[in-house]
Symmetry: C2
Subunit: 215 residues, 2 copies
Amino acid sequence: MIDYKNLSLANQVHQVIEENILNGVYKAGEILSESKLSEELGVSRTPIREALTRLESEKLIGITPTGTVVLGITDKDVKDIFTVKMKLEPLIAGLAAENISEEALVKLKDIIDQQEFYDSKDNKERVRNLDTEFHDTIYAECGSIVFQSILSPVHHKLLKYRKSSLENAERSPHSIGEHAGIYEAIKNRDKELAQKLMLEHICHAYENIKKGTKK
Amino acid sequence: MIDYKNLSLANQVHQVIEENILNGVYKAGEILSESKLSEELGVSRTPIREALTRLESEKLIGITPTGTVVLGITDKDVKDIFTVKMKLEPLIAGLAAENISEEALVKLKDIIDQQEFYDSKDNKERVRNLDTEFHDTIYAECGSIVFQSILSPVHHKLLKYRKSSLENAERSPHSIGEHAGIYEAIKNRDKELAQKLMLEHICHAYENIKKGTKK
DNA sequence: GGGAGTATACTTGTATACAAGCATGGTTAT
DNA sequence: ATAACCATGCTTGTATACAAGTATACTCCC
């Protein structure tokens, strides 16, 4: 399977703008102009528009004939996202335990190993990106395009909040340990355990985020 | 709130292509060409591309540098969609019972009245479109952009299957009756009842669809 | 006849030019 | 001074031209 993502300017633009929104560089309420983005990023309006179109379907921005406004995500959105994750993601973990391929198992193990490595090097950003990769891999291997298409964008939106959570020095090793547990359960094809551990993993992540946003 | 949907060619194109995919006019595996769509629909490639970009994020098509392939939805997707709906939509109904505005209540009532009217006129298509409007209104009124953005596209994907279900002569009045029950519960701000009735409504719809696809 | 190489006709991806609408600010007239 | 009107510069929306890559089919050579 060829990964075309690296080839397209529009995809790169999408990632950049998405990250800027989630990290607060483009703040909620701010007006984005296609022309300005075009100049800033050094590409024409066409790939910019394509990226904006996708960001709109993710509800991160709102496009009107008179301007494009940043919506971003609120604390309430985060709460709702975790509600969705708690309801659906254990199911996914169970499905993955049934359907995952051997290559994907190797990939999951590799992600966990890398997470441990970069955590020991205190490279938070890599750990965070690998967290996304871990969950995305499970989404991709559950065998359901419906669940994948719902959870993948939803999980991505937690970027900023995962950032504050995983930068909590205590949370990071716990999270990686939980990943390892989930991996083992999936590897052993233990559907029930995978579901249980995934639910706990999400609950812990949410509790940690709540702690982080309150202080 | 102004509805800009009617103004844009790209939105119209999106609707047309989406409908053609869901209704099987464009079959799974078929290759769509931007140029051909452009000629067929009488617009330039630009709005076509915008529509295809959105359809890709809905996972109804897959875009590669060598062509655009129709993915459509399978029976398994429908099963997964109902799993998602059963998990999330009762929550939404409960939230709507808490948050819905008076105008939206009037709108829901009006939708139900129209459904009864068009059902008596045997206008299945209008009944079906009103079903979408009923659920979309509840999504919009639950006060959560996250839930709305997940459930709205997911519900839309059932178009073809809703078609076969609601064209079942017996299901249609039942469905409308269930809508009325949900409306009453939301109007009375009875959260628990709204949740319960919504779950039942979805279960019935799914059972009916299963019956329809098996024969 | 079969195989290799090339040309052609597609595909998506990108850039740019043009159109229409709106908001804002300046200017002019009262 | 104030109000109305007009022009200017923005916005998104659309069309079109060009670029790069690929698959296929045809032709030529062996």
